[in-house]
Amino acid sequence: MAKEEHGALYDLLAVRGVSRRDFMKYCGTIAVMLGLSEAAAPEIASAIEKGAALKPALWLNGGSCTGCTESMAQVDTPDVATIVLELLSLNYFETIMAAAGEQAEKNITDTVAAGGYLLIYEGSVMMGQDRLGNTLLVNGKTGIAILEEVAAKADAVIAVGACAVDGGWVAAKPNPAGATGVQSYLNEVGIATPVVNIPCCPMNPEWVVAMVVQWLKVADNDPATFLAKTALAQTTYSDDFTGNDVTLNYPEYIVSQTIHDNCPRRGHFENGEFVTEFGSEEEAKGYCLYKLGCKGPQTFTQCPVTRWNRSVSWCVQSGAPCIGCGGLNWVDNNTPFFKRLSSMEMGTALGNVQPGSVAAVVGGVAAAALIAHGIANKAAGRRGEGPETEEMKEYDRKKLAKKGGEK
């Protein structure tokens, strides 16, 4: 075998005692996460081994809670140190960067001037009162001015977390701060830089790392190749704040199935075995949380597969119903979180538009199954019916009342 040329990352892994075998295993994991076959591992390995200068990246915080940064700090493989020392040159990342103030601002200016960088955007885009951007100021500039400056020249934007995707909870009614998502805002100002969205509140860090590696190693750091080689799912929603229809790109591997499809508690759902009260015996047995309002059947993310915090657990595993933070306009669409939706018309009547036409098909099947199981559960005499169902969302009721409709 010819002597291989190794890059900085591979050398450093070697220094840290990572064996060839572990390295290949890691490449296989990345391949699977990217939705490729494990047979693609050698291709990824060779791309990593080739090595290169670190890819410059800027991580901007908009109207954020820093929860996605925190989530990033919980990443499994590669770990945070590897990401910031050997994968990306994160020249701007407010929460962890050394520089502050003027010196920090210069890092943005320098990186934008040099070009060839990725923008990772966390938090909602703060359009502000009268769309003046006044709800977020950094160094005397509005958050939207900074986003425009940085996004225009970026190779691509990775919008991390529900707030960056569509405004998240900040954009929930009545959206007092004028929040929207990155794609929606870039459409408004005519910036065509490609945006890839990573859902959930916070986003799962493993999904972000997979995208970064896809960019650097599989798409050869080239925007066109990236778009051509990445399996993307698209969905269109109507942004209440801007009044526009917005089409979002998601990595398909994240959003192709519902939480319900992959839920380890699914067997209990099939058996009609439900938790109807928190902290109960049924919860100790790991029964299904649907009756406590679980939004798993209508939420299209890979949470049960990837799981959280280095795969230790995830929401449903800990005993809580899914609150649907991976969906669009997730607070308005999913509150009250603990009420079951009387209608299972996912992706249509409730405005909970989800990626792909899969929604309607799965929705129909699930709805039928739920009705059947509702009856089965009653017949079996299991205790409790769980919280009441709601006929209509409170805000929709008010909207309707305002328009002179009933209620």
């Binding site: 900085a8 050398d11 220094v15 200068a53 954020s64 809670c65 820093t66 929860g67 940064t69 925190e70 989530s71 700090a73 770990d79 140190a81 020392l85 040159s89 994160l90 407010e94 929460t95 050394a98 520089a99 502050a100 103030g101 003027e102 010196q103 920090a104 210069k106 502000g128 709800t135 977020l136 100021l137 998240g168 909870w169 929930a172 009545p174 959206n175 007092p176 701060a177 929040a179 509140c201 916070p202 928190f278 902290g279 109960s280 919860e283 100790a284 959280w308 915090n309 657990s313 995830w314 929401c315 800990s318 005993g319 809580a320 933070c325 607070v331 509150t335 009250p336 979180f337 409170e394």
Partner: protein, 528 residues
């Protein structure tokens, strides 16, 4: 006179601006501004109280658990729910995991870079580094491999998160060997904070944004298979605190002793109290509720809170208790002579009040000195008074707790609190195991009413957090939040009195106004 601005203040949660007036290399005036408004309280109106539990934790992704607990307690207070014993213990475990995560992350990954110079670590002598670690009683790492890794990183010419900082500032005074030790622990801290958060994930699904401490108790049922996963992670985190965080603090302190001479600030300390005892009485908490002017203890209640907006971008009424609070945004431009912050000027008993570990440790210290037994008869727990007294002795200032009211004191108090919470975490797990052995542990209780008013006043790692709720027929009619950072970065109030961080900045030396390292240290010491 020179006007120096730090905007953005980095290595914090959120968006903040610090502006200082420097005369003869000393800060003589200061303005601290919160520069973002999201409007959470408005978003909550007309939703269900349980929805507030999930939405309000998203005010802060670094302390979401504390906000979720304050929100749940507000609802429980409003609807007359006493959470069952199992729920109390699970919440204490969850809160402890978040505290340990947060304090470790704060010291090594946020604040340390104000004192520790990783670039300087490249010139450390490896043998001397091991000798120093041995002498300081701090844990060793593979210092040679870490230095090699850092060298490779530095040589590629891209400094990533270390880019653009003034590493040649005269304030970086540690020897390269200590820089290398601290940098090694910076990297290890990234791992250990994640271990602490795995406990959060086991109990609450994920970090950030936990799922289970719903109003009424917890949705998490601690089956036996989960206890070992929790206990042994706490042991690993506690080991890191005992063998790195504490000895590193003591090793660095002698090089920065002048920081004990400034940065104290307003000297009023508030703690709502955190870590519930069986009594569910806030004054009994493991870190008790209390207020102190200087080192004189007083009682305190959420009714003592008032918020002013004379210098904040709101046009709603000023001087209200949050029970009747209003939040109506009216941005008028940044002007330090008029309005300059989205933060309200929150006051306790009409005084600016510092919140955070220093406040909690002062309140706890005074309670212990007054005869209160914080941990009952449980053996083997290092309590706040014991930790403070032994640290003062180690630094050669035994019997002078007033020295804590300084920049150095604020840094030390956070790390000492981490040691106390690490000990408590094991108490909480053992209590839970005992409760499970008893076989009748209850975890959740339903509400019996749908209307009421309540307040949940609790502590996040970075300070006092309180949520006020009004509920009418199951829907939220009033919601106000006073977050920790609202206290510490408060702007001037109606009388023109400066907020706690503003006061702490005054008197701070500034070697070079173009490179304001010292004011940055003050800002970071509050963990905003």
């Amino acid at each position: 006179m020179t006007r120096t601005v730090i905007d953005p203040v980095t290595r914090i949660e959120g968006h903040m601006r610090v502006e200082v007036e420097v005369q003869d290399n000393v800060v003589v005036d200061a303005w601290v501004s919160g520069t973002m408004y999201r409007g959470m309280e408005t978003v909550l109106l007309d939703r269900s109280p349980e929805d507030a539990f999930y939405v309000t934790q998203r005010i802060c992704g670094v302390c979401p658990i504390s906000h979720s607990h304050a929100s749940a307690q507000a609802t429980e207070d409003a609807l007359g729910i006493q959470i069952p014993e199992g729920g109390r213990l699970v919440r204490n475990i969850l809160e402890a995991a978040q505290f340990l995560h947060s304090h470790i992350l704060w010291f090594y990954n946020l604040a340390a870079l104000d004192y520790v110079n990783p670039v300087n670590a490249l010139s450390a002598n490896i043998a001397d580094t091991y000798a120093l670690a041995e002498a300081a009683g701090t844990r060793v790492a593979d210092f040679g491999a870490i230095q090699k890794r850092l060298t490779a990183f530095a040589q590629n010419g891209q400094l990533s998160i270390l880019t653009g900082h003034y590493w040649d500032h005269p304030g970086y005074v540690l020897p390269p060997e200590l820089d290398l030790i601290a940098t090694a622990h910076y990297l290890e801290a990234l791992e250990i904070q994640a271990v602490a958060n795995e406990i959060v994930a086991i109990v609450a699904g994920k970090f950030s944004h936990p799922m289970t401490s719903v109003p009424g108790g917890t949705a998490f049922v601690p089956t036996v298979d989960k206890l070992d996963d929790i206990l042994f992670r706490f042991l690993r985190v506690k080991d890191f605190i005992d063998t790195a965080l504490i000895p590193d603090t003591l090793a660095i302190a002698p090089f920065i002793l002048e920081t004990a001479g400034y940065g104290g600030g307003c000297g009023n300390f508030l703690s709502w109290g955190v870590f519930e005892q069986s009594s569910l009485v806030p004054e009994d908490r493991y870190l008790p509720r209390g207020f102190a002017q200087g080192l004189t203890p007083e009682t305190v209640s959420p009714d003592d809170v008032t918020e002013y907006v004379e210098h904040s971008w709101y046009d709603s009424a000023s001087g209200l208790n949050p029970k009747n609070g209003e939040t109506h945004i009216a941005f008028t431009g940044y002007n330090v002579d008029d309005k300059y912050s989205y933060g309200k000027a929150v006051r306790c008993k009409e005084l600016p009040a510092e919140v955070g570990p220093l406040s909690r440790m002062v309140v706890a210290y005074l309670a212990e000195k007054g005869g209160q037994k914080l941990v009952g008869d449980v053996a083997g727990v290092r309590t706040p008074a014991a930790l403070i007294d032994s640290t003062l002795e180690a630094l050669g200032v035994a019997g002078h707790p007033e020295i804590l009211v300084s920049l150095l004191g604020r840094v030390a108090a956070r790390n000492l609190e981490a040691a106390y919470v690490a000990d408590l975490s094991l108490v909480f797990v053992n209590d839970l195991i005992a409760a499970l052995k008893g076989g009748d542990a209850q975890f959740w209780k339903a509400a019996e009413t749908k209307t009421g008013e309540g307040v949940g006043a609790w502590e996040a790692p970075r300070g006092s957090v309180a949520h006020w709720i009004g509920i009418e027929k199951g829907k939220i009619s009033q919601y106000q939040i006073v977050a920790p950072t609202t206290w510490d970065i408060a702007p001037r109030d109606a009388k023109g009195v400066l907020g706690p961080m503003e006061q702490a900045l005054i008197g701070t030396p500034v070697a070079d106004p173009e490179r304001p390292l010292e004011p940055l240290r003050i800002a970071h010491s509050f963990d905003p």
